[in-house]
């Protein structure tokens, strides 16, 4: 486990990186979205403190920064879960039974789509079109894209995550 000190150290250096990136963008207010992308890459999500910092650096109103950060779905305002399962529900995947995959995971894990488990370990999400539509239906498990997915294969893959979850079958 990381010590508190290393974590603090990391945050301080991330902040220094963010500051220098903002400087490179010449504190331009219209670079807000670029800055939020950079901040999220550094801190893994956009905390209130980060948004406050960005607003001050770019001399923008707080509500404007919050408004932009919440408009775009790729920005996370909560810390990410340890494991993520993303089921693509784009058209091609929908036509090939994406919802069956989603329902299977939901009913098996007890976790609802769009939710993070109580211990914040697992997140189950759906996304509109990841666009390797040629291999639909598509699921992304911890960043790895898997095509031609079936409910059986998917459950097999996810089993390890739910060791502490009671068997609901």
């Amino acid at each position: 486990m990381e010590s508190k000190e290393t974590k603090l150290h990391q945050e301080v250096s991330s902040l220094a990186i963010l500051e220098s990136e903002i400087r490179k963008l010449q504190y331009r207010q219209d670079a807000l979205i670029e800055v939020l992308h950079i901040a999220q890459n550094l801190f893994s999500y956009l905390s209130k403190e980060t948004l406050r910092y960005v607003a001050k650096q770019l001399k923008l109103p707080y509500s404007k920064v919050q408004g932009v950060a919440t408009f775009y779905h790729l920005f996370r305002l909560q810390p990410p879960a340890e494991h993520t399962c993303i089921v693509c529900t784009g058209t091609a995947c929908y036509v090939k039974g994406a919802y069956r995959l989603l329902e299977t995971v939901e009913s098996w894990s007890g976790l609802q789509e769009g939710h993070i488990s109580e211990d914040s370990k697992i997140s189950l999400r759906s996304v509109r079109c990841l666009e390797p539509c040629g291999i639909a239906p598509v699921v992304v498990i911890d960043g790895k894209v898997r095509g031609h997915e079936t409910p059986e294969k998917l459950l097999q893959e996810l089993k390890g995550w739910f060791v502490n979850v009671k068997d609901r079958s």
Binding site: R28, T91, A92, K96, C129, I135
Partner: protein, 582 residues
């Protein structure tokens, strides 16, 4: 600025090529099927067997048949003199005994075996077939370089006549001549609205201003459509060249590419391409030693479908919430930072250099009277072959679905194709004779859109398809205008009610009225086109809706108004209690 010689770079590049080449598709589709491992295995094996002098492994772009990925193409320069075991029927014999062989689903094991083929051993890998109807019915204009050129090496693009078009206009064309040539070609915008490109360029060119912007809309968001992503990942320089030509014709020195945040690979390849072009002096200041300056910057989206709409896209480039604003004023007069701005789609820019190189007559020779050139489609859904398809505009749907797509999977029948994504409509199988061009599809109540084409078979329920698209629009509505924000929610509810079997004829009437109203009153293209999938399924598959309706129920509750004055308060409280319960 250094003056560069394109010919010299091209001949150097060609001279350095090995006689035998292994092209691994590394576009996102094949990558997610495991192309990277295959590529590494190829390299390792070529090294291990000491074939580096004769065999070259290259990362290339999309080879179209995505459902069979990872795809690999083996090119052999002299098939008469190669140890590689060749079965003729699978190869495409080209000039000078050159041959190309396609392999499907190439993972580590088959990669090993393919390399071993160069030592004369039997190849154990799944063979593809370039002679199959999937490939034989297609053309290559936009996708000319995809699968051939290495997207991360500018030299490879230059060796394929890249940047010749830009060189030509800078040295031999006046500004007006460029616009004239594009206008004569008959090219229409490939993003969906199909506005004549030359006329659009002319409008921006006419608006005098100190600063002008050239913007590439790469915020491709239609689910089931990935033409733009594929092009950016396979041939990014083609788009940069098109933008630079536009910049010259319009008198602009700054371009932006707005790429969907969901496309990290496209972003990465564009970034590499821009850096390489800057280094060679093909972008930046004094391009090719002329007074023309043009720089291109990337802007990454962050997950909002509405940003494909041009006013929302510009708001997003300027760091704002991606909400649209009413037009007029159009971007051509009042765009980014209030300056005249040209917005075109990725594929539109992708056509430009070829039109300049080959002439407008060549381009106008393809397609139909009103829809010139070719179009890339993403064929997905319930057909045998799914992937990227390029055909001349005007090709009948049946040719795309049955000949190229291979028809329905066994035991099923195709019922319709959905074109144009959430803004488009469904075309029933009886009408598959219709040519795919802008005007014919519009007549049928659909649109060609950006090129998504999803085959639906008898297992798909059309009301559910309509509900699916409406849910998409509801989730993606920006919330600015009421018809789109609240109307899509109500349409979605009505569709759900119909699917649940609890709707009656009055609900169906209400659905239609609401669809027409949302279409007519919404602020931007998202809301104006959101009802299209519902309206077109109502038009062609009304019986599917009607079969789900129940008989009229005279006892149903109507929502009395909540706005009566205090005299009616008692009644109101009762009502509000009832609402809470529902």
């Amino acid at each position: 600025m250094l003056k560069i010689d394109l010919e010299e770079i091209a001949s150097k590049e060609i001279a350095a090529r090995k006689p035998n080449r292994i092209h691994c598709c590394t576009a996102a589709g094949c990558l997610s099927a495991g192309a990277e491992e295959g590529f590494e295995q190829f390299q390792k094996e070529v090294d291990r067997l000491g074939l580096t002098d004769t065999v070259q492994v290259a990362k290339v772009g999309c080879m179209r048949l995505c459902c069979q990925g990872p795809l690999v193409k083996v090119q052999i320069a002299d098939s008469t003199n190669s140890p590689f075991p060749i079965e003729d029927k699978h190869g495409t014999i080209q000039n000078n005994n050159q041959i190309e062989i396609l392999f499907h689903q190439v993972h580590a094991e088959s990669a090993k075996s393919i390399v071993a083929g160069f030592t004369g051993q039997k190849v154990e890998a799944v063979r593809g077939d370039f002679q199959s109807p999937f490939f034989q019915n297609q053309v290559s204009v936009i996708l000319d370089n995809s699968g051939n050129v290495e997207p991360e090496r500018i030299e490879s693009y230059i060796a394929a006549k890249g940047y010749k078009g830009l060189y030509q206009v800078l040295h031999h064309f006046s500004l007006d001549e460029v616009i004239h040539e594009i206008t004569r070609s008959g090219l229409r915008g490939r993003g969906g609205a199909a506005y004549p490109t030359g006329i659009k360029w002319g409008t921006v060119a006419k608006n005098k201003s100190e600063k002008k912007y050239v913007v590439c809309n790469a915020d491709e968001g239609d689910p089931g459509a990935f033409m733009n992503r594929s092009l950016l990942e396979s041939d990014p320089h083609r788009v940069l060249e098109g933008m630079a030509i536009a910049g010259y014709a319009l008198g602009s020195s700054q371009g932006y590419i707005y790429v969907r945040g969901e496309y990290p690979l496209a972003v990465q390849r564009l970034q590499i391409a821009i850096t390489q072009a800057n280094r060679l002096g093909i972008l930046g200041t004094r391009i090719f030693g002329t007074p023309f300056d043009f720089r291109i910057d990337l802007r990454t989206g962050a997950g909002a479908f509405v940003c494909g709409e041009e006013t929302a896209l510009m708001a997003s480039i300027m760091g704002q919430r991606g909400t649209p604003t009413p037009r007029p004023p159009y971007p051509a007069e009042h765009g980014l930072w209030g300056m005249p701005t040209l917005l075109n789609n990725v594929e539109t820019y992708g056509n430009i250099a070829a039109i300049i190189r080959n002439g407008s007559d060549w381009f106008a020779g393809m397609g139909t009277q009103t829809s010139k050139g070719t179009k890339v489609f993403c064929l997905t859904g319930n057909v045998v072959n799914t992937g990227l398809v390029e055909v001349p505009l005007g090709t009948p749907i049946h040719k795309i679905v049955y000949d190229i797509g291979g028809g329905a999977v066994e035991g099923n029948t195709i019922k319709a194709v959905q074109t144009g994504g959430p803004s488009g409509g469904c075309i029933p199988a009886e009408m598959f004779d219709v040519p795919v061009d802008y005007d014919s599809l519009a007549k049928l109540g659909s649109i060609l859109g950006s090129g998504g084409m999803i085959a639906l078979d008898n297992t798909n329920r059309m009301v559910d398809v309509a509900r699916f698209f409406m849910q998409f629009c509801m989730d993606e509505s920006c919330g600015k205008c009421i018809p789109c924000r609240a109307g899509t929610v109500q349409i979605h509810r009505l569709l759900r009610k119909i699917l649940a079997g609890s709707a009656d004829h009055a609900d169906l009437d209400r659905l239609e009225q609401l669809c027409v109203m949302v279409k007519d009153t919404s602020l931007c293209g998202l809301g104006q086109s959101a009802p299209n999938p519902t309206l077109s399924t109502l038009k062609y598959f009304r019986s599917e809706y009607e079969s789900l309706l129940k008989e009229s129920d005279s006892t149903q509750r109507i929502n009395l108004p909540l706005l009566c004055s205090s005299a009616q308060m008692g009644n109101q409280e009762q009502l509000s209690a009832e609402t809470k319960g529902s």
